[in-house]
């Protein structure tokens, strides 16, 4: 199914213009004294949610922005922030 992604600069575009940048794992852990286990957790480990997740994308064939969206990994469609839905 064709994935469409909303770039904050360019708007809704074909998903193949973008590169997936991984699950959102919170802020980069600058300056924290991390042991190798915590570092591996941040770099490699994923939740692999079957459902809605927050994730990073990069507009590779466009403006070059990095941004986050919410996507349903089962339907493979971008969705609204589930917390903002009432």
């Amino acid at each position: 199914m064709a994935l469409m992604i909303t770039c904050p600069v360019c708007g809704r575009r074909n998903g193949y213009e973008f590169r997936y940048g991984g699950e959102d794992k919170g802020a980069y852990p600058w300056g924290q004294d991390m042991d190798p286990r915590q570092w591996a957790e941040y770099v490699h480990m994923n939740s692999c949610t079957a459902g809605v997740q927050k994730e990073w994308w990069y507009h590779r064939d466009g403006c070059g922005s990095w941004f986050t969206i919410f996507r349903d990994t089962v339907a493979n469609v971008e969705v609204e922030n589930p917390e903002e839905r009432t």
Binding site: M1, A2, L3, A40, M45, C48, T73
Partner: protein, 407 residues
């Protein structure tokens, strides 16, 4: 199962209140594990719980390619064990697994790729696996349909030829192992979803399924592409896995023209001619996690373009069917097999991406040993999930077709 005939593995048993081990996921790895638990370790009070029907996952969707020409010294021996098992299992299960060791030809399209092939071949030869480097002319002698023209996107420089690999009938392996395991007393519980894993003081105590609670001291999660999601959502243990959908397709049946499995990393294509005459081909995935198992027009088109460049005789041939399945990819292209860590009695066997069919039987056998004895067999030790925090990632990333969100 859906008709009036009884399945080979007998009628569906009642779910018992207690098992000595519960295996979540009715794919090849768990069916093999169950079979060997019963056969080689006398553990027969074992259940395989399957949410849908056995073979629903990668077990019934893969393109059936088997080989043992991987990149690293840790990986090759495991795959070699598996290659050696097919003829043995065919006899043992009294079930024709249709092992066709036609050999694999991996096309190389640059001098750099030829160098990589030399390295792979050296590893294989060092470990006693037959593998050769061929130049373009020798490759053409083996596969006369190949296009050696310089006037294609990726001209062929040569290949890596691995005679002992080939194709095994994947459904037959599912049915044969299920029949073999059930005969030894294993309960295969279909339409039974694992919904919870209960633990107490760092030990596994049971599994909740859609049919009720089971008490058990040992649980294995080996549910193909679903494993990482199950493990992270039932136990809170995150794994270095991304789940993508991989696509495959077959053409209309043709007269015999391909006697080998032919693959190309540069074109992102592998293909072989089935015994029915169809060209079975695949290898593409959308590089973002999704559980859709859907096919896309983009890759059907790509597949047609790529195939007809290096096998021009396929021009005008029609695709008859296309399908998708899940591939649970790790950053180093090697699986994760572990046990009793971080929970006693918890075992996992996943991260098999799009290459977990060929190894399923040997892996199942080793995992059975691990579950029965509590000791990790030597072969499996490098595959611990702790390798990530130890910075000991495996070098399989140099594998032939590398397609993950990490590259």
């Amino acid at each position: 199962m859906f008709g009036t005939k009884k399945p080979l593995w007998g009628p569906q048993p009642e779910q018992k209140k207690h098992y000595d081990a519960v295996l979540i996921g009715g794919g090849l790895h768990n069916l093999a594990t169950a079979y060997y638990l019963a056969k080689e370790h006398g553990m027969t009070n074992v259940a395989v719980v399957e949410k849908r029907f056995i073979g629903f996952g990668g077990a019934g969707r893969n393109t059936a390619i088997v080989r043992a020409n991987q990149r690293t010294q840790e990986n090759v021996p495991l795959y070699k064990d598996a290659l050696d098992l097919w003829p043995q299992l065919t006899k043992e299960l009294d079930f024709n697994l249709m092992f066709n060791n036609c050999g694999n030809v991996n096309l190389m399209h640059s001098e750099a790729a030829m160098k990589a092939a030399r390295m792979n071949v050296s590893t294989a030869q060092f470990l006693g696996v037959e593998s050769h480097v061929l130049d373009a002319k020798q490759t053409k002698e083996l596969v006369p349909a190949l296009n050696l023209s310089q006037d294609i996107t990726h001209p062929i420089h040569g290949s890596m030829y691995h005679p002992p690999g080939g194709i095994v009938r994947h459904d037959a392996v599912v049915w044969g192992l299920a029949k073999g395991a059930a005969k030894l007393g294993v309960d295969i519980l279909q339409q039974t979803e694992a919904q919870g894993i209960s633990t107490r003081q760092g030990k596994v105590t049971g599994v909740d399924t859609s049919r009720g609670h089971i008490s058990t001291p040992k649980v294995m999660v080996s549910a193909g592409g679903y494993s990482a999601g199950i493990i992270s959502h039932l136990l809170g243990l995150k794994l270095p896995i991304s789940v993508l959908t991989i696509q495959a397709m077959v053409t209309q049946p043709l007269k015999p023209l391909l006697n080998h499995v032919v693959s190309s990393g540069a074109y992102h294509v592998y293909c072989n001619q089935t015994l029915k005459g169809e060209i079975a081909t695949g290898a593409h995935m959308d590089p973002w996690p999704n559980y859709t198992t859907q096919v896309t027009a983009r890759y059907i088109k790509h597949q047609a373009e790529a195939l007809t460049e290096f096998l021009p005789c396929l021009r005008g041939v029609k695709f008859m069917r296309a399908w998708g399945g899940l591939a649970d990819m790790t950053p180093d292209m090697a699986p994760i097999m572990d046990g009793n860590d971080p929970l006693d009695g918890f075992f996992m066997n996943c991260g098999w991406g799009y290459f977990g069919f060929k190894s399923s039987t040997a892996t199942g056998r080793y995992m059975a040993e691990y579950m029965a004895t509590g000791e990790c067999p030597q072969r499996l030790r490098p595959f611990t999930f702790r390798r990530y925090e130890q910075h000991k990632l495996m070098g399989e990333t140099a594998a032939l077709v590398n397609y993950t969100p990490d590259n």
